[in-house]
């Protein structure tokens, strides 16, 4: 059949740019970007689609008509939370616990703050809550930790609470969170039914804690329900607009949303809060695919941008979900991929303490305004980007593909006045010092994450992305004893690419309270329940194939209060597996904490079960669309760059013109519009058939 080309499109809406990756049925991949439009994110998406149509010489209508699946990651939910500009929300909760979201388990005062700030104890305050106290309604009801009803839910209380919230407080959205609803959600269901009965015509958004999480922990679960209600209407509005714009152009494909769990759901059935961190989750999925294709067992993803440095870990292609991840300083209970951040990036400022003369690099950042000194927009303090420029790693005339020119003079001035002169070092030495210090801090974060996952840094492969990641990655790898760095061809749009490639994924985590010896029948019943639920969700999402289930358990020694998660090698338990899981755990635990830490005599308990249900969507492995052949044609002059105490003549290549299969020995720099790859002396870079760069350290 010689039919027209059909597309799968991945969109990632970031703070500045909306990235787009399109993949044809043949696996040909193309990417583009358009500025993000925060007032109505769907405009930016349409702009990106128009750009993409332009690249292919077709009209926007034609592109839209030829698109089978449009997969969409967005920051709509994150933005609404960060700016606290969500909808007017009310909360119905167990009477006596109306203050839960204000007490914040006390730890809310420091949640989401860097250690340096936590120490300033007299200054640090709690974050602004998502709703005022008088929109929280207590209802008489109580369920105990075994799920037994102790106090039946009071129907009059619910009726009064709903009426007050809707009629007097004028809420658009109601969150419901009752104690131990993770174990028995019946009372929450009663509230939903009553809202439907009374105000079914008012289009009130209802968010039940038990729909969002089946884990114990009322503070984070209630936050999740409230946050979901808070951002829900905004997320739905955005998706509605996008859907409408696409329909007008004749779109007849499927519109799916990316979730923070690393997979897709349909727009009608995704919980709005599940879209938190969907961009980075797309990146993790892309990294998982790449690790499978390249045969990398343990992968560290490191994303260095302007203000933050994000690290994720994949062991055997599997990621972990964060325990109570924090967004906009609020704890949540949602399966969101565990990606850790510190405030370190191109904009990070270096300073000398006037009393101790210690040089600190971060956590202060010059941000986008005024930005680094070299932007020449009023910044006078030296930043990491200024140092990268002075060290010759960045081309002043080819930053963002030449869209912004950088002032070497301003950068030097800032470094000289603030660092070099006080320290009695040269400008170059100072810049190199800043480079080393920030790299060391970043390496410390990477090491902590690797070790926390029970892996050994030297056995990991480093996947670097973000605007500055490939400049710094060699230093991290050397510090941590890693020998291989991969910079994906799709690195500038890594999240959009990952989203374009991703599958349906529904995840369920549920608290258990089992003590060994475990009952295989009980465990199998739990698995059956979870898998049935998940299969149903996938069916609702429009997936009609056979789901693939991945199962994990969290266990702990009997008296411990926190546990560790490990994958289950069995589909179901029999007597042997129920005993075997204990041995597996002891082994897993020893690997994490060393011999002697495990105290088997204390006995084991199982505290959580996790099931991932994957609904695979057909895809072809990516292919390079055009392949240049002559390395020398990729050369783009040379410049002096700083390595190990010397300025060396360094060849510069335009990365997109480097032929596949080339090996380039350091020192060299590979540049493309949005990525600069520094190949240090003693290392070499190899470009594979897909345009990925593999640096051997």
């Amino acid at each position: 059949m010689t039919g027209e080309v059909r597309y799968t499109i991945g969109i990632d809406i970031g703070g500045t740019f909306t990235d787009l990756t399109m993949v044809t049925e043949q696996g040909i991949t193309q990417s583009t970007k358009a500025p993000t439009t925060p007032d109505d994110f769907s405009i930016g998406v349409m702009d990106a689609l128009a750009e993409a149509a332009g690249i292919n010489g077709i009209t926007l209508d034609e592109l839209v008509r030829r698109t089978d699946v449009l997969k969409n990651g967005s920051t709509v939910a994150t933005n609404a939370l960060l700016t606290r500009e969500g909808t007017r929300v009310g909360l119905i909760t167990t009477r006596g616990f109306e203050d839960t979201v204000f007490i914040m388990r006390a730890v809310g005062r420091v949640d989401g703050l860097p250690a340096e700030e936590v120490r300033r104890i007299a200054y640090v305050d709690k974050p602004q809550p998502l709703l005022p106290r008088d929109r929280v309604m207590g209802v008489h009801e109580r369920i105990d930790c075994q799920g037994r009803v102790v106090v039946p839910v009071n129907i009059e209380d619910i009726a009064a609470a709903i009426e007050r919230l809707v009629e007097i407080e004028g809420v658009d959205s109601i969150a419901v969170s009752f104690l131990h609803a993770w174990r028995n959600p019946d009372h929450e269901h009663v509230v939903r039914r009553m809202i439907d009965e009374r105000y079914g015509d008012r289009n009130i958004f209802v968010s039940l804690s038990s729909d969002l999480s089946r884990e114990a922990g009322e503070y984070a679960r209630t936050n999740t329900a409230v946050a979901n209600a808070f951002v829900g209407p905004a997320v739905h509005r955005y998706l509605g607009r996008l859907s409408e714009r696409l329909s007008l152009l004749g779109f007849s494909g499927r519109l799916l949303v990316m979730q923070g769990n690393g997979g897709l759901a349909s727009i009608d059935h995704a919980a709005p809060i599940s879209t938190l961190q969907s961009g980075p989750a797309g990146g993790m999925f892309g990294a998982a695919l790449m690790s499978e294709a390249m045969g990398h067992r343990v992968v560290v993803t490191a994303d260095m941008g302007g203000t933050s440095f994000d690290v994720g870990i994949l062991s055997d292609g599997v990621w972990k979900y964060a325990d109570e991840p924090i967004f906009a300083r609020l704890r949540m209970l949602q399966p969101i991929i565990d990606i850790r951040s510190i405030g370190a990036g191109g904009g990070t400022i270096a300073r000398i303490d006037p009393i101790t003369t210690r040089m600190s690099v971060g956590p202060q950042s010059a941000g986008a305004q005024p930005g680094p000194a070299c932007y020449d927009a009023g910044g006078t303090e030296p930043t990491v980007t200024d140092c990268n420029l002075v060290l010759g790693y960045l081309d002043p005339d080819f930053f963002l593909g030449g869209r912004k020119s950088l002032s070497v003079e301003r950068a030097e001035q800032a470094i000289r006045a603030n660092l070099a002169e006080p320290l009695g070092l040269s400008v170059l030495e100072s810049a190199a010092g800043v480079f080393d210090i920030i790299n060391s801090k970043m390496s410390d974060l990477i090491r902590r994450e690797v070790v926390r996952n029970g892996e050994v840094p030297a056995e990991c492969v480093l996947y670097a992305f973000g605007g500055a990641g490939a400049i710094h990655a060699t230093s991290w790898a050397r510090e941590l004893g890693m020998s291989q760095i991969v910079i994906a061809n799709t690195s500038p749009v890594f999240s959009a690419h990952g989203i374009a490639m991703s599958d349906f994924l529904r995840t369920r985590l549920a608290t258990l309270t089992y003590v060994a010896p475990f009952d295989p029948a009980q465990l199998n019943r739990d698995l059956d329940t979870l898998e049935d639920d998940l299969a149903m969700e996938l069916a609702k999402d429009g997936f009609n194939g056979t789901p693939v289930f991945k199962r994990y358990v969290t266990m702990h020694f009997l008296r411990q209060t926190t546990g560790e998660e490990m994958p289950l090698p069995w589909d179901r338990f029999d007597g042997k597996a129920a005993r075997g899981v204990e041995d597996l755990y002891v082994e897993h635990y020893r690997r994490l904490y060393g011999a002697g830490a495990a105290y088997e005599k204390s006995g084991l308990a199982m505290s959580r079960i996790r099931v991932d249900a994957v609904g695979a969507i057909d895809r072809r492995a990516a292919e390079q669309s055009s392949v240049p052949t002559i390395l020398d044609e990729a050369r783009h002059g040379s410049r002096r760059a700083y390595f190990d105490g010397d300025l060396l003549d360094t060849v510069v290549y335009r990365k997109d013109r480097v032929p596949a299969g080339s090996t380039i020995a350091g020192p060299a720099i590979l540049e493309s519009e949005l990525t600069t790859i520094v190949v240090a002396p003693g290392t070499s870079a190899e470009i594979d058939a897909l345009g990925n760069v593999v640096v051997t350290v």
Partner: protein
């Protein structure tokens, strides 16, 4: 910018090493928290990993409970003194120690300390410490000698030459009621030390032992230099504070007051803390050993003044401490000290009060908080449980909602409600759902405590109150203290009120048919409501026992401390008081009585009645008559130092230095005099202030003393006073040097 560079050490390598060292300690702490069996460690963060030089000086402590870091220096010095020759300190050894007369606060503070060897030489130490609430002995509260407080270890090798000593382990754990729990905690500290030691050895490999040693010295020196710099910026003078505590007479079990008295004298770059006048040591377990007191002094200074310094020993260099012998802050062996953290809390509060006031005089505003709350409940059931839960497992002893108390108000905003605990800046409290999975309780509420924060122009943050039912245990017990005492909670600053009368812990016996009433949907959420609705009645066990059984279905009412207020409550914006009313933080009664804010039935402000009520309160403060301030002719006022929200020192023209009211310009006294003795003093009964009686025959000891400007009646200070302990005095809290 002109700075002097210490050229002895490469600044870039130093910075990398410093961050790496911190990161290693964090990795160790993460390991410890995940292996431990203590909820207070895993979730409350009561633990610490820290590094020491070869002689035991602290190089760096990481995040966690500060008390442990401060204590361990002393422990290492003693280990070297006692055991270096025999049996020797060798590579691969790890010592376990919990003697509060050496280091730590009570026997529950357990330290595991490992030497680090490099090329055969001992170059450093690493320590991992945490709180393990079981060391055997008599149950909490009953000890009168340290011998009652369980196993006391003075440095046993739990790991010897790399081999875990199962014999030592078994011997220790089997002295305790809950060997599995204690065993898990020992293993958690070993795990943390393994992580830290491996990390430190990598540092030595990478940077070389000489460099690492020099860097350690530098960290200590930096800390010392920064501490001196901070002190230099504060005007010279003496600041005084007094915190009262309550203990029980061991014979009569009657409530008796005692005091911690602190005089902080700042001169140049030196700070002297003199605790002379603090009460003598007690005949029960409410005593602090010298190491514990020193550790708490360090906590206060680290949190309030030195928060941005490296956490190393150097910051204590410019600090001199004078401590009376045989006092409650420096008890003599073998005095019991199980409740030493409580005394320590008073030390923290006393030092913090002086420091906050000093910072104000230095012109700093952002880092001032009024008091964060001491342990201050005056009797009733405590929070150390015995017995078994529904699964038949021993109840994990303590339940630490005290880690979610309210924070003090600041010059710029109200205190944070349910904000934390000063010793553990990053700690928190547990989810009730998680608690109920472990303990035999069913909670009926956890909410902000009404009238729980100290009133002020900015109010202190509220603590929380909880009401719970004993649920699913056959043998639950809890520690009990007879009612009565001196309610000195968190101190207020510059006219802000202290807290201390904001709640009562109590045991309530239910009326018949608990499950029936619950089943009909009827349950109370506060103790007052439980009593008023006839759900339960307050009970006071006969004979003042130290521990009481808690029958299934009984109610326990529990609350945590609030923060102190800042400034005169009458200066609080009316709208803020109304908002507090709506948020359930203040009662209508307190709004009217203390804030002078009157509302109608729908909680809307009545401005006329409010203005009238506020004027009435002002007149009461000045005994019904305002004085008129004398005029000062044409001489111009020049402020020398604004040392108080409402007072400043300075002079008119070339006149002598005086203190005057910032609000109305009234000259109060000479700058070298105690302003409190030249303004209007008024005493208020604490029972009246509390608005409730203590259960049983319990009585409040002491009074609230207010000092107001004689002209404008602005409230300058609201102090707790107890002549029985302190004699009749007006504590001279700010004594400037001219």
């Amino acid at each position: 910018m002109t700075v002097v560079v210490d050229s002895a050490i490469d600044p870039i390598r130093f910075e990398i090493l410093a961050h790496r060292l911190w990161a290693i300690g964090e990795e160790g702490r993460i390991a410890l928290q995940r292996v431990t069996a203590s909820p207070i460690v895993a979730q409350g963060g009561e633990c610490m990993c820290s590094f020491y030089d070869a002689d035991g000086n602290m190089i760096l402590a990481c995040s966690g409970h500060l008390r442990f870091a401060a204590a361990t220096s002393d422990a290492i010095k003693r280990l070297i003194e006692w055991f270096d020759d025999e049996p020797g300190i060798n590579e691969g050894d790890e010592f376990i120690l919990n003697d509060p007369y050496v280091a730590g606060s009570h026997t529950y503070d357990i330290m595991q300390i490992a030497p680090i060897f490099w090329e055969g030489k001992r170059v450093a130490w690493v320590a991992s410490s945490s709180h393990t609430a079981d060391t055997g002995g008599v149950l909490r509260g009953a000890a009168t000698e340290i011998y009652h407080e369980g196993i006391r270890l003075l440095g046993l090798k739990i790991v010897e030459a790399g081999a875990f000593r199962e014999d030592v382990f078994k011997t220790i754990t089997e002295q305790c009621r809950d060997p599995e729990y204690v065993g898990m905690d020992i293993r958690s500290r070993t795990a943390a030390n393994n992580v830290c030691r491996a990390g430190y050895l990598e540092l030595l490999t990478r940077f070389g032992a000489d460099f690492v040693e020099a860097a350690g010295r530098r960290l200590i020196e930096d800390s010392s230099r920064m501490a001196r710099e901070k002190l230099t910026a504060i005007p010279n003078g003496t600041w005084r504070s007094r915190i009262y505590g309550t203990y029980r007479d061991p014979m009569t079990r009657r409530a008796m007051p005692y005091q911690v008295l602190c005089a902080a004298t700042k001169a140049g770059d030196q700070l002297t803390l003199d605790f002379t006048g603090s009460s003598g040591q007690l005949e029960n377990d409410q005593n602090s050993t010298l190491p514990s007191t020193m550790a708490h002094i360090m906590i206060a200074l680290t949190n309030r003044l030195f928060w941005d310094l490296p956490w190393s020993d150097g910051k204590m260099d410019p600090v001199r401490v004078i401590m009376p012998e045989r006092s409650v802050l420096n008890c003599t062996f073998p005095a019991a000290c199980g409740r030493s953290p409580r005394v320590g809390q008073y030390v923290v509060e006393a030092v913090s009060q002086c420091v906050s006031s000093m910072l104000f005089a230095a012109g700093e505003r952002e880092d001032i908080n009024a008091g964060w709350g001491s342990f201050w409940y005056l009797g009733g059931p405590g929070y150390f449980y015995g017995g078994h839960n529904a699964q038949g497992l021993p109840n994990p002893q303590g339940l630490y909602d005290t880690h979610g108390g309210g924070l003090g108000a600041t010059p710029l905003r109200d205190g944070v409600p349910s904000g934390g605990q000063q010793n553990i800046p990053s700690g928190g409290i547990s989810d009730i759902e998680r608690i109920e999975l472990q303990y035999p309780f069913l909670y009926l509420s956890r909410s902000h405590n009404i009238d729980g924060g100290g009133p002020g122009a900015h109010t202190g943050g509220a603590g929380t109150q909880r009401l719970l039912i004993a649920y699913g245990s056959q043998d639950l017990t809890v520690d009990f203290t007879p009612y009565g005492g001196l309610p000195h909670g968190a101190w207020g600053l510059f006219g802000g009120h202290p807290t201390g009368t904001g709640g009562t812990r109590s045991l309530l016996a239910p009326a018949a048919d608990v499950s029936g009433r619950l089943g009909r949907g009827d349950y109370p959420v506060t103790a007052d409501e439980a009593v008023a609705s006839g759900w339960a009645e307050l009970t006071v066990p006969a004979g003042n026992p130290g521990r009481i059984p808690v029958a299934e279905g009984s109610l326990l009412a529990d609350f945590t401390q609030g923060g102190g207020g800042y400034g005169d409550p009458l200066e609080r914006a009316e709208a803020s008081v109304v908002e507090d009313l709506r948020n359930g933080l203040v009662s209508v009664e307190q709004a009217g009585r203390i804030f002078g804010v009157v509302v109608d039935g729908s909680r809307t402000l009545d401005p006329t009645a409010t203005a009238q009520r506020r004027e009435e309160i002002r007149l009461l403060r000045v005994n019904g008559a305002r004085t008129v301030a004398p005029a000062h002719g044409d001489s111009e006022w020049a402020t020398r130092v604004r040392f108080h929200e409402y007072l400043e020192a300075g002079a008119y023209g070339s006149g002598r230095d005086v203190i005057r009211c910032v609000e109305c310009g009234t000259v109060v006294c000479d700058a070298t005099q105690n302003y409190k003795q030249h303004v209007v003093r008024r005493e208020l009964s604490l029972g009246e202030l509390a608005g409730r009686r203590l259960p049983g025959d319990g009585e409040y000891i002491g009074a609230l003393v207010e000092y107001a400007c004689p002209t404008c009646a602005v409230l300058l200070a609201a102090d707790i006073s107890c002549p029985e302990v302190s004699g009749e005095d007006d504590l001279w809290d700010i004594q400037l040097v001219s």
